[in-house]
Amino acid sequence: MLTKEQLSRYWGKVRNLTIIVLVLWALASYGAAIIAGFLNKITVIGFPLGYYMGAQGSLITFIVLLIVYNKKMDAIDDEFGVKED
């Protein structure tokens, strides 16, 4: 069984990871939308970047975020030995 101190360190790490993911999530969606007018002046593989972010870029960011989150969470679980039985 883990000590109280270990558990709270574990939860601290999980919480920080969650906050980081949510900040990046907000930047990729709301942030990109707010500056979409500016981004549209840039063209990437034929796409106006502002529209591209809303239609694809933010979605791809979401999935990358979840892949990284899952990897990190697994690593944190293993580090503290709290993987479920």
């Binding site: 883990l2 558990l7 574990y10 939860w11 999980v14 969650t18 993911v21 949510l22 999530w25 969606s29 709301y30 939308a33 707010i34 979409a36 007018g37 549209n40 063209t43 990437v44 593989i45 034929g46 796409f47 106006p48 502002g50 529209y51 591209y52 809303g54 239609a55 694809q56 933010s58 979605l59 791809i60 979401f62 999935i63 975020l65 979840l66 892949i67 989150y69 899952n70 969470m73 697994d74 679980d77 030995g81 709290v82 993987k83 479920e84 039985d85």
Partner: protein
């Protein structure tokens, strides 16, 4: 070990299934070339797929509670991801979303970002912790965390409000597709569609729903992709529209800019403006103008000789004429709005809202759709079905991936269709309209009229129904009918899979949460399953009965469901997991206030002209969500903290290892 062999067996089964599906498509394609009539191809797709779903449903029949409620908790993450994606993507996502993007340009992207971004919230804030809790329903969690039957009851009521309207919309969608493809009246088609829904869920509950949803996902994603790949190849020479439509967007922008300046287009826009004014006069003169219009039609009919071909036209107009001054007001207001829209110069397709108010509304809508997604009970329930917490996390990722495939494709559908209209329709003579225009015109999905009488099609003379974008694409791309029938089967699969997820959520809410947990806790698990099945049947019949009236308000209610879920469930779940100090009083007060605020704004906006900063009813959650959070936090801080057991319970949710404290596992 056993788990792995189960997963590999599943992979094999679904690989064979996918191969069989493609073979079926090819065989019917060949049969069409050999002269098989279109109606039979339609039948083959609808009944062929229903037969497959029914087979899965029968194989998965069960009387066991754990299998009936949570598919035995052995759904591997990839398959749970696919099932969640099918559960989530409704008839509207499949058929109407691309059309909304076609019409709204950048503004429509709120749906694309909102309905995917919600899965990030779900995956990091709720899903793994709900899986650790490991019971059956969302009200289960609310009661365990906050204690008492009242909070369960509030949860049950919110779940039923949210799910029922949504269910009716799916039944309606299934009915529309059914009536189109096999050519029977809508009222009868609804009950046919119902049959399709029930074969998936009645015998096997969540277990059967899960495995049919996987099969339905495969049908719907292939059906969505084929036509758009073909039309992309036709327009750009690259079969991957997702990569290729950048250039298409640029060509749209150039053409729209010239349409803005074109004198003929301006002339047509002036005609629309006058039309809008005329309709406005008519609305102001109600109810006299309604009687006058009716009398004029009747008089005209009486003066015409019996064999005049004009008669049929007027008879039709009379039949469609509003039945009452109230109905006239609603219909004419709609006409007026459309005329006003058509009178405006076309907006840029890729530019975001130019003013602050527009941007705030866009962000508010995106936010409500995201939070609502993470608060919908039928989606949340799916995360109880995975074998482990790790798999609950990965399955949220897989769900997002499978949803993404369709949502990344939808904007390319929209752009390619718009380009097709601007290139091959605008500027052409009315005498040389393509064949697909005539076909979908008679179905009422496309309307082109020579308003200024110059014999040439102007952009402002084309009205396209949102559903036409997906439905007409195969013909625009010159594909055989077999693809159109396949699209219909895909839309049908999308409607069925969502309907089943909702149906099972509601029947569980009543049989498990209300009857077993509140009214009569002494019944055996197998009786509970029997009651669940009976309720499933009853709810489905009620939904089909209501759907057969085709009430216009259903579409609105579905849109509101997100804000309602976002303002009720989401804060209670997130605070329940992340705020140890949150207590019963806070959670209930928050849910009730959030729900009341959201509903007040929705009703006020829809019926009484209430509007704050231009926010639409669909984004009412922008008031309800913060209201819920603030009230919950304040009330919880001025009332006693939750007891020690509850705090231990919250702690035990955080760590994957170990038992869940406080409540004993059952069954």
């Amino acid at each position: 070990m056993e788990r792995e062999s189960f997963a590999s067996r599943l992979r094999k089964v679904y690989a064979i299934y996918t191969g069989g599906l493609l073979l079926f498509l090819i065989v019917l394609g060949i049969a069409e070339q050999l002269g098989l009539p279109a109606t039979y191809i339609g039948y083959a797709f609808v009944f062929g797929t229903i037969l497959v779903y029914a087979t899965i449903g029968i194989i998965s029949r069960t009387g066991q509670a754990a299998e009936y409620y949570v598919a035995g908790r052995r759904v591997p993450s990839v398959f749970n991801g696919m099932a969640t994606a099918a559960d989530w993507m409704s008839a509207a996502s499949f058929i109407s979303m691309a059309g909304a993007l076609y019409h709204q340009g950048y503004n429509g992207l709120a749906f694309i970002m909102g309905w995917t971004g919600g899965y990030v919230l779900l995956a990091v804030l709720i899903a793994p912790y709900l899986r650790k809790f490991g019971q059956y329903t969302i009200p289960d969690f609310l009661e365990a965390r906050y204690g008492g039957k009242l909070v369960r009851l509030v949860g049950v009521i919110a779940a039923i409000i949210v799910s029922f309207a949504y269910l009716i919309a799916q039944v309606t969608g299934a009915g529309i597709i059914m009536s189109r493809i096999i050519g029977i009246p809508f009222e009868a088609a609804v009950f046919f569609g119902l049959l399709g829904i029930l074969v998936c869920s009645f015998l096997g509950g969540m277990k059967a729903v899960t495995w049919t949803q996987v099969a339905q996902y495969i049908v719907l994603i292939i059906a969505y992709m084929i036509p758009v790949f073909a039309i992309s190849y036709k327009q750009t020479g690259i079969p991957f529209p997702q990569l290729a439509y950048g250039q298409v967007l640029q060509s749209i922008e150039t053409k729209l800019a010239s349409i803005k300046e074109d004198p003929k287009e301006q002339e047509v826009r002036q005609i629309w403006k006058r039309k809008a004014e005329e309709i406005d006069q008519k609305i102001k003169a109600l109810p006299a103008s309604w009687e006058e219009g009716k009398r004029a039609l009747e008089e005209k009919l009486n003066t015409l000789p019996a064999d005049d071909p004009e008669r049929a036209k007027i008879e039709k107009a009379l039949k469609e004429y509003p039945k009452s001054p109230e109905e006239a007001k609603a219909k004419w207001s709609e006409d007026k709005k459309r005329a006003e829209d058509m009178s405006k110069p076309p907006k840029s397709y890729v530019a975001p809202p130019a003013d602050v108010k527009g941007m705030v509304n866009f962000l508010a809508l995106t936010f409500c759709l995201m939070v609502g997604t993470a608060g919908l009970p039928h989606v949340l329930m799916r995360f109880y079905t995975t074998p482990t917490i790790r798999e609950a996390r990965t399955s949220a990722g897989w769900a997002l991936f499978f949803i993404l495939l369709l949502y990344i494709t939808a904007p390319s559908y929209a752009a390619l269709s718009r380009n097709e209209v601007l290139t091959n329709l605008v500027g052409k003579a009315f005498s040389e309209l393509p064949a697909w225009v005539a076909k979908w015109g008679s179905a009422g999905l496309i309307k082109i009229q020579d308003l200024n009488g110059d014999g040439v099609i102007q952009f402002s003379e084309i009205i396209i129904h949102p559903d036409a974008v997906v439905l007409a694409t195969p013909e625009i791309a010159g594909l055989p009918y077999v693809i159109s029938a396949f699209i219909a089967a895909g839309g049908f699969a999308a409607a069925l899979s969502t309907a089943d997820g909702l149906l099972i959520t509601m029947s569980n809410a009543i049989s498990h949460d209300l009857y077993y947990k509140i009214i009569n806790p002494n019944i055996s698990p197998s009786t509970r399953v029997k009651i669940g099945k009976a309720l499933l049947l009853v709810i489905a019949l009620i939904a089909a009965y209501i759907a057969s009236f085709r009430l216009g308000i259903i579409v609105d209610i579905v849109a509101w469901a997100f804000s309602i879920a976002a303002s009720s469930f989401f804060p209670a779940l997130v605070l329940g997991i992340w705020d140890k100090r949150m207590n019963k009083q806070g959670a209930i007060a928050g849910m009730v206030v959030g729900l009341v605020v959201a509903l007040t704004y929705i009703i006020g906006n829809r019926f009484y002209g209430l509007e704050i900063y231009g926010i639409k009813a669909i984004a009412a959650g922008i008031f309800g969500i913060p209201a819920n959070f603030v009230v919950a936090l304040v009330v919880s801080r001025i009332t006693p903290p939750p007891n020690k057991e509850t705090q231990e319970f919250v702690d035990s949710l955080k760590y994957p290892k170990g038992e869940v404290a406080h409540i004993k596992a059952e069954d």
